[in-house]
Subunit: 141 residues, 4 copies
């Protein structure tokens, strides 16, 4: 796996942070890009009353959105300079109600290929409780 | 399949519309509940510059969010009076860039069980172009 | 969608049937390739006592296997001459116990791209009862 | 997570081994149940020429089948005495060609609920190369 995770773009962190800053939806959610390392990216989102489902928990779509961004940017850390990544598909299991003050999606690349990258993101709530988990495929171009 | 799709709650449309109105995240997205029929619900979202990814297309998370709500409410149309539904998991394939002025997630129940309901949602853009498709499992309680 | 579904290989049916014949696992399952049309392939498998789970129903893995092959070959009907396809990922919902004498996975291409093709397969049991549904992504090379 | 993973059936290993022995499909595949611990089960399958896809690699359906069984039995280790588990859905990403002499699906419970259990299985080839990964939902009854 070591070879997979060597960044081809020495400036990968800047590429990731600049792209994230262009995602207006992340701003709308109040989401923040935290850790950016080769093959690993964290995106956090605080609870907000504007992001809820019918019972006052964070909407599953919010968790999926930050996990999707985290997976995409984990892939981008390993992409070649100038490449962009687009989500092909993802799947998420919602294991506990999204109660809490703050949620963090921690994404990790499982397999970086020339064309496709597979990442996993676990979404944690307060006290590192595991709320959801995602498997994602992105394509580089 | 006929039996599956007979509503057990004669007031199912009101139950769905009231619950949707409580989803503050749908309001934040500007999403609107359109068709509500037994086993079938449509949720629409207009393009907005506040909901984009890095290239100015609608963020995959937005498509997933409206498709998830549509699937959940399609299941709720067939639930017993007083029941609520929660997403267990979903999977989405993003087939085309989400370009366009307006997107509609059309959800349909494939299998309504006592505990679990499986729905499919297709997300269409302008001109009924198929943008994405979701499979979703929800649990009633 | 019309453009997507025009076969680029006039001899697509032969390409599909020859490749299927090489899948020794399909022979082991007793699976048969039935319909082969542009963007649509059916694979059938009869019930067998050698293919069961603990309750005597067909194992979910058998349904997934024939649905995966059907999705892959639906994609291959639209590939260029000489191309091969490999499964990238798939997801299956198992909606009813796989009781019955015979099962058919009917796959249909939803989106044929240059690199990736997304297909859906519905698996039917006796009397066209919907047993399972799959979403699949394959890559051409 | 600790509470989740305490077995409710002191005889869980016997329950798992007896149920696995009834899965005729596992016998057909030549699959063997290896590790059985609370919340964790490994299922191995040797390469066989009878289980291949068109290029002579193990068919994706074989990997999915052993991963599905491993996930189901990981869930069963935590079920109450007398309970059975059935797969609701699963998703698998196929990350590398399934070349090699032997494959092991290592499943781990992520969340054990009263009704639903979510498990993850990683499938490794020779030299612990990560070939595929699955997320699975099973229902107890």
């Amino acid at each position: 796996m070591a070879d997979d995770l060597a960044p081809r773009n020495p400036d990968f962190e800047r590429a990731v942070r600049e792209s994230f800053a262009k995602q207006t939806f992340m701003t709308t959610l109040g989401a923040a890009l935290e850790r950016v390392e080769p093959g690993a990216v964290d995106v956090a989102v605080p609870f907000s009353e504007a992001l809820c489902q019918q019972n006052g928990y964070l909407h599953a779509g919010v968790l999926a959105s930050v996990a999707d961004s985290a997976c995409g940017y984990a892939a981008l850390t390993l992409a070649a300079p100038g490449q962009d990544v687009l989500a092909v598909e993802f799947k998420i299991n919602l294991m506990r109600p999204a109660r809490g003050a703050r949620f963090v999606a921690r994404a990790k690349v499982l397999r970086a290929g020339r064309t496709l990258t597979v990442s996993r993101a676990d979404v944690f709530g307060d006290g590192e409780e595991l709320i959801a988990t995602m498997l994602s495929t992105v394509i580089a171009r």
